[in-house]
């Protein structure tokens, strides 16, 4: 593989040909601000936040680091005062019509624009635009589209067509009228949208966000990586939790099976965990009525009845149905229980159904 040697802010990096400047900088732990770029998507270079200064031979100019590839012998500067001024200007234009409650951090949603605006000390002073121009699209039962927060980075349109292959979201209109929308400006619910939320996962501002009908927006206290409880794809996902509740599921872009993608079930199907229908105490049926019981009482009863049947009729009068939803460890223990404790091989699960 051909290698390029480059200098980024004085640090030497040796990277394969075809590496972008942004990736090369990452390799030597230099971070360049980005907004329209997402590592999961091909770059398009529309926000100009990642602009850097490059010099190679006689060539000297500013390029978008997310998009431009390194060349052998290139010198890159990522944070000259001139570049920082250009970034501040780009941000000032972006925040002009961005909703104040989002910039003030009152929404509970993460917002990359807010983070950058804070970092650069940018406020609405210089330019002020029209904040609430668009009605919300609430037609989908799982997602809200709020174009007022949209910064036209096109991450969602790229995610929808290149990751999901669904081609629902497009940039409609021109110039100041540009906006993200399904074709013909249809409400999302009336399209072939599969509610995968790939668009949402790539959105930097929460312009596309989940509805979370169960609770008011709060910031997560912890993010725990786990595996989806639905199908056999084995998608890794991040549980964002606060106190005793799951606030939302977010993409984990390191998951080997899914690399951040999820389907509607994995992304929006976690409310059952906090459902008021959850069983919280053992129950025993007596004379046709359910009564709550303590664990000791319930387990003593189960042990007694299982033992009785085994003594009277032999171990094969007992059977255990294990679960394809239980963990490996639990399945191991369950079959061990059937075989070593009850003494029967009558153990199966729903692999056939």
């Amino acid at each position: 593989m051909a290698l390029c040697s480059v200098f980024i802010d004085g640090k030497a990096a040796l990277v394969p040909t075809g590496t972008t400047i942004l990736q090369a900088a990452g390799a030597v732990s230099i971070s360049i601000p980005t907004l329209c770029h997402h590592p999961n998507l091909p770059p398009i270079g529309v926000c100009r936040l990642c602009v850097v200064d490059v010099e190679v031979g006689d060539f000297h100019k500013q390029v978008a680091a997310c998009h431009a590839e390194v060349q052998d012998g290139m010198t890159v500067r990522t944070a000259t005062p001139e570049l920082e001024r250009a970034r501040r200007f780009a941000l000032e234009l972006q925040v002009a019509d961005h909703p104040s409650e989002c910039l003030d951090g009152e929404t509970g949603e993460p917002c990359e624009l807010r983070e950058l605006a804070r970092r650069y000390g940018v406020t609405k002073q210089r330019f002020v635009g029209d904040e609430a121009r668009y009605p919300l699209d609430e037609s989908s039962p799982v997602m809200t589209i709020d174009l007022n927060r949209c910064i036209l980075c096109r991450r969602c349109t790229r995610a929808c067509s290149l990751v999901q292959g669904q081609d629902i979201l497009w940039i409609m209109g021109r110039g100041d009228e540009s906006r993200v929308s399904p074709a013909l400006s249809l409400p999302l619910r009336d399209t072939a949208c599969v509610s995968c939320g790939q668009c949402l996962a790539h959105c930097p501002t929460g312009a596309i966000r989940d509805k979370r009908p169960l609770r008011p927006p709060v910031r997560p206290e912890a993010v725990v990586t786990s595996v989806c409880p639905y199908c056999g794809c084995g998608c890794q996902l991040d549980l964002n939790v606060s106190g005793e509740q799951i606030l939302r599921v977010t993409s984990n872009f390191d998951g080997p099976a899914n690399r951040g993608s999820l389907c509607a079930k994995g992304r929006f199907g976690y409310h059952f965990v906090d459902s008021p229908d959850r069983l919280t105490r053992p129950r025993i049926r007596r004379d046709g009525r359910w009564e709550e019981a303590s664990w000791d009482e319930a387990l003593d009863l189960v042990a007694t009845r299982l033992r009785e049947i085994r003594e009277r009729q032999g171990p094969d009068a007992l059977a255990v149905l294990s679960s394809a939803k239980a963990t490996n460890e639990e399945n191991y223990l369950i079959q061990k229980f059937a075989r070593a404790v009850l003494g029967t091989n009558n153990v199966d699960h729903c692999a056939r159904l």
Binding site: S226, I246, V341
Partner: protein, 525 residues
């Protein structure tokens, strides 16, 4: 793709399929329904349900007759070629296509395309296996892969897509009546000796009974006590009336679940379990990848993880099973299971491991059979066509097939309690071809009645070209309009899988039609 509606059932794998298509791959879909991938496919073989063997033998016939097979692979790595050759000779494309109800050009074209693509991968799910010939159907697919040398290399293989998040792991762990962890046979004395030494008790020798047989054994009184953990046979088993009668007859039924399911309602004792978010452990996905789940929130009320409950019960029955952590359980699994021997929690951070992983420094095995097969040479099998157990007749003239939809899952205990998801698909709809609908005067949204030899349901109709004339499709997730009241419990004699994918039904318009006639848009793909 055979019998797999991948973009709805395995959406993330469906994404990869669509990416491959965009990159120029050829796609053949064999499925009675016009699924999303069937619409995108180069060949959609809309076979009559249950005619897979005829179709696949016909394809093998073409591949052999036109010399498209991989002689080198067949000679070096397989046996039984003559047998297959003799069998498939009896399935010339015209005959095979006629049995399967597909155009002969499509069958021939698909056979050529499969043989020409190098490598070519086969994927299947329960559309192939839930038949009385389920295991034979799989053998026919394996024949195609062996004849074309499509095993043991990247981008090839015969790949079952596993339905539940941990159905692979539950099988690996020996939650099956005939095998201990790692598919070690219970009737092998050496294996039993190993587990007896580890567990300190003598172990039963005779293989046990499968889930479908359990239901029958309870009905006949042979099994008296049933312990059901996290399953809901009262919606997922075929012929629910029979299941209900049987379960109601159990002398003692314990159900351990998150919710009061249809099955729990019949129990004597119900034990509250916790969800994946409240416990530690591992799941094994359809690529045999073992991955960690982690406790993220406190347990609800007094609910406890399945493993803890089982260990507590074991102690009460005089055989304590004591572990300090799930990691320690995995260590015991690794000691006793050759394919998991190299697995430990320390190694599972990040991307997890794909078994077989025989030693602590083994990197895992993404592709099976690269250099050889466990039995030496792979066996080709000559398989003859056997029609489905139940065929349409004058009384029940149509065929019902069942499956899942994207936004619901199994018996809906989880998706039905996630309001956004449930709103996407709140009710079952039976898919009916426009020709049949016209004949019976049915429009989308009308209330219709489906009757089989075992039961009847009333659901709303969705008139759509997704199904062929004479075929109806009903998802099995819903308690109201439960498809499995209708389905046929006839079993594959070897795999013991019920024929959920074919049963004969009659479609009727109930007298008070249009009762819940809110016409919903047909949001086909």
């Amino acid at each position: 793709m055979v019998g797999s509606n991948t973009t709805e059932q395995h959406p993330i794998i469906g994404i990869e399929m669509k990416k491959a298509l965009r990159a120029g791959a050829a796609l053949i879909v064999a499925d009675p329904r016009r699924t999303e991938l069937a619409c995108l496919a180069h060949f959609h073989l809309a076979l009559r349900p249950g005619t897979d063997i005829a179709l696949l033998n016909g394809m093998a016939h073409v591949i052999l007759a036109e010399g498209l097979w991989d002689r080198e692979f067949v000679e070096a790595r397989t046996e039984g070629f003559e047998e297959v050759k003799a069998t498939v000779e009896a399935y010339p494309p015209a005959l095979a296509a006629e049995i399967a109800g597909v155009p002969v050009e499509s069958l021939v074209g698909a056979a050529r395309a499969y043989a020409a693509a190098k490598p070519a991968a086969i994927f299947y799910t329960m559309g192939l296996t839930q038949h009385v010939t389920g295991h034979l159907n799989v053998l026919c697919l394996a024949n195609l892969a062996m004849l074309t040398g499509n095993l043991g290399k990247p981008g090839a293989g015969v790949n079952p897509l596993r339905g539940q998040n941990n159905v692979q792991g539950a099988s690996d762990m020996g939650a099956l009546p005939n095998v201990l962890p790692g598919y070690q046979q219970v009737n092998d004395p050496e294996t039993r000796k190993k587990f007896e030494a580890a567990w300190g008790v003598p172990l039963p020798e005779a293989p046990g009974i499968t889930v479908m047989e359990m239901v029958d054994a309870i009905a006949s009184g042979r099994v008296r006590g049933l312990y059901v953990i996290g399953e809901n046979p009262m919606l997922t088993d075929p012929d629910l009336c029979h299941t209900r009668e049987a379960l109601a007859r159990a002398e003692f039924l314990v159900v351990q679940d998150l919710f009061m399911t249809e099955t729990a309602a019949l129990a004597h004792v119900v034990l509250p379990a916790v969800s994946f978010a409240e416990k530690d452990g591992t799941f094994t996905n359809t690529e045999r990848r073992i991955q960690r789940i982690r406790r993220a929130i406190p347990r609800k009320g007094a609910a406890r993880p399945d493993g803890e409950i089982i260990c507590d019960l074991a102690a009460r029955l005089g055989h304590p099973m004591v572990y300090r952590s799930q990691a320690e359980v995995m260590d015991e699994i690794a000691r006793l299971t050759p394919s998991y021997r190299g697995v430990s929690y320390a190694r599972l951070e990040g991307e997890g491991l794909q078994w077989p992983c025989p030693t602590p420094d083994h990197p895992g095995t993404p592709i099976l059979h690269v250099t050889g097969f466990p039995r030496g040479r792979a066996r080709l099998h000559g398989v003859n066509y056997i029609p489905p157990d139940e065929r349409p007749d004058a009384e029940f003239p149509m065929v019902l097939t069942t499956g899942r939809v994207l936004h619901q899952y199994h018996s809906r205990t989880m998706t039905g309690r996630s309001p956004g998801l449930d709103a996407l698909r709140p009710e079952p709809e039976v898919e009916i071809n426009p020709q049949d609908a016209e004949r019976l005067g049915i429009r989308s949204g009308d209330r219709v009645r489906l009757v089989s030899r075992r039961g009847m349901v009333e659901v709303n109709a969705s008139v759509t070209e997704r199904v062929a004339p004479g075929l109806v499709f009903l998802p099995f997730h819903y308690a109201e309009g439960a498809a499995n009241l209708l389905t046929n419990p006839a079993l594959d004699p070897v795999a013991r899988i019920p024929e959920l994918k074919v049963c004969a039904v009659r479609l009727e318009v109930p007298a008070r039609s249009g009762r819940s006639g809110l016409a919903r848009r047909d949001r086909g793909l």
